[in-house]
């Protein structure tokens, strides 16, 4: 057993002061220590993308980082998307376009899409498809997810204009 490290994480603007073994992954700490169970642990080796969160705006796999490495960064999870009772445009689009069935992969897709649309609001359809291929969904066949993200991208662009 390793010694415990004092770690301060900032998730969705809230500060969590924790004592952790350095070996703990970010996804496990977000879920088990911070109680934010919206971020899902799927494959736990970086393939499925269910655990995708934003780290200083970058979409990353929370299972491929140790929590101690996220100290000093702004972490965003699916819980931080909605503004109170008002859902984020991506969340609304996923509902409207059947972007989910069982919902297990949804938090990862939402954070992946948020990350890419915030960085590249004018991303081409072709590149968007490549980006969405990063995460796995075993229900929808992806068509609903692609439609939802395209619709949200258009809405976000209109809001910017």
């Amino acid at each position: 057993m390793s010694e415990l490290a004092n770690v301060t994480l900032v998730i969705n603007g809230q500060t969590y002061t924790l004592q952790l073994e350095p070996r703990r992954t970010l996804v496990d700490v977000i879920r088990e220590e911070c109680g934010l169970t919206g971020t899902h642990a799927g494959c736990e080796h970086g393939v499925c993308g269910a655990c995708t969160v934003l780290l200083d705006g970058d979409p990353v796999r929370a299972c491929l980082m140790f929590a101690v490495q996220a100290q000093g960064s702004a972490i965003r999870t699916v819980e931080g998307l909605a503004d109170g009772e008002t859902l984020h445009p991506l969340q609304r689009a996923f509902m409207a376009h059947h972007g989910l069935q069982c919902g297990f992969c949804t938090p990862g897709f939402l954070m992946l899409a948020t990350g890419v649309l915030e960085r590249e609001p004018d991303i081409s359809d072709e590149l968007l498809l490549e980006v969405l291929a990063s995460n796995l969904c075993r229900c929808t066949g992806y068509q609903g997810i692609v439609a939802a993200v395209r619709a949200a991208a258009a809405e976000l662009r209109r809001a910017e204009a």
Partner: protein, 279 residues
């Protein structure tokens, strides 16, 4: 940096390892295939984020992530080539953590950056408490997941010479699904002078234990007019030259044919009239 190499010198004999992006090492740890006793995280080490052109050389520090190459890091063929290649590396979120130098140090046979490094004769700078060592990329890779790095050394920087302005390139990769490991890939870098191919470099990766330039393929196109028959000769030469990896799904013959196809397509792209690959 001094602290990182001092820690590495101290911990390397006790199964200590460098942690950069962690996009290969951490999955291997998740499978318990690697169980390092100590990890030395270099993600906050100052100076390792250098990504600049100095004296016609692109310097890439140890914590420059793949995603840095999504934009053109250099306004020329080298920048365009790196931006075209990066789109084949794993998936988008992986590229925000994984690093260029980490990929070289890991030396997966299917790693795109390793192919780029050997094809362009990259210079690699290793640091340790003992000092600095320089390697040519072709001497650095020693087999699948094997490099010339000593356990107490970290790959601090990779240097790529800026390519002459009229240089053209083509990159082709075959994998079963987007983002999967390459079963074969080829990078062709050349110029066309007076209607004939000059200074060709043809590198093949993913098909052998480590990437390398294929001299027989380069000889097949050098000084020749670009065209289908010349590309086919180079493809056949590359297919014959390699010592293919075999696995449960792919036998040697399959990989040879793939290598031929990749070399043919990479050359076709490199010699297209506008000189740029489709990115």
């Amino acid at each position: 940096m001094a602290e990182a190499v001092r820690l590495l010198a101290e911990l390397a004999p006790h199964d200590g390892r460098i942690l950069a992006g962690g996009q290969s090492l951490v999955p291997i740890m998740a499978f318990r295939l690697a169980r390092p006793a100590h990890l030395i995280d270099i993600n906050t080490v100052a100076g390792l984020d250098v990504l600049t052109v100095r004296d016609e050389v692109l310097h890439i520090g140890a914590r420059v992530r793949h995603a840095a190459f999504h934009r053109l890091v250099q306004d020329g063929t080298l920048g365009a080539m790196l931006a075209a290649v990066v789109r084949h590396i794993a998936h988008y979120p992986i590229r925000f953590r994984g690093t260029f130098c980490g990929s070289l140090a890991h030396a997966d046979p299917a790693a795109e950056w390793c192919l780029v490094a050997v094809t362009l004769d990259a210079k690699l700078i290793a640091r340790s408490a003992r000092g600095k060592r320089r390697f040519a990329a072709r001497d650095f890779f020693q087999g699948a997941m094997a490099t010339a790095l000593a356990p107490d050394e970290l790959l601090a920087e990779t240097r790529l010479a800026i390519l002459p302005a009229d240089t053209r390139f083509g990159f082709e990769e075959f994998s079963r699904r987007a983002g999967d490991y390459a079963l074969a890939m080829a990078l062709a870098v050349l110029r066309i002078e007076g209607g004939v191919i000059a200074a060709p470099r043809i590198g093949v990766g993913g098909a052998e234990a480590m990437p390398r330039r294929i001299e027989a393929a380069e000889a097949a196109v050098s000084g020749r007019r670009p065209g289908e028959s010349v590309f086919r000769e180079a493809a056949a030469a590359a297919a014959a030259a390699i010592d293919p990896i075999e696995d449960a799904q792919t036998n040697a013959q399959y990989r040879r044919e793939l290598v031929g196809a990749m070399v043919y397509r990479a050359l076709t792209q490199a010699c297209m009239p506008d000189g740029r690959s489709r990115a």
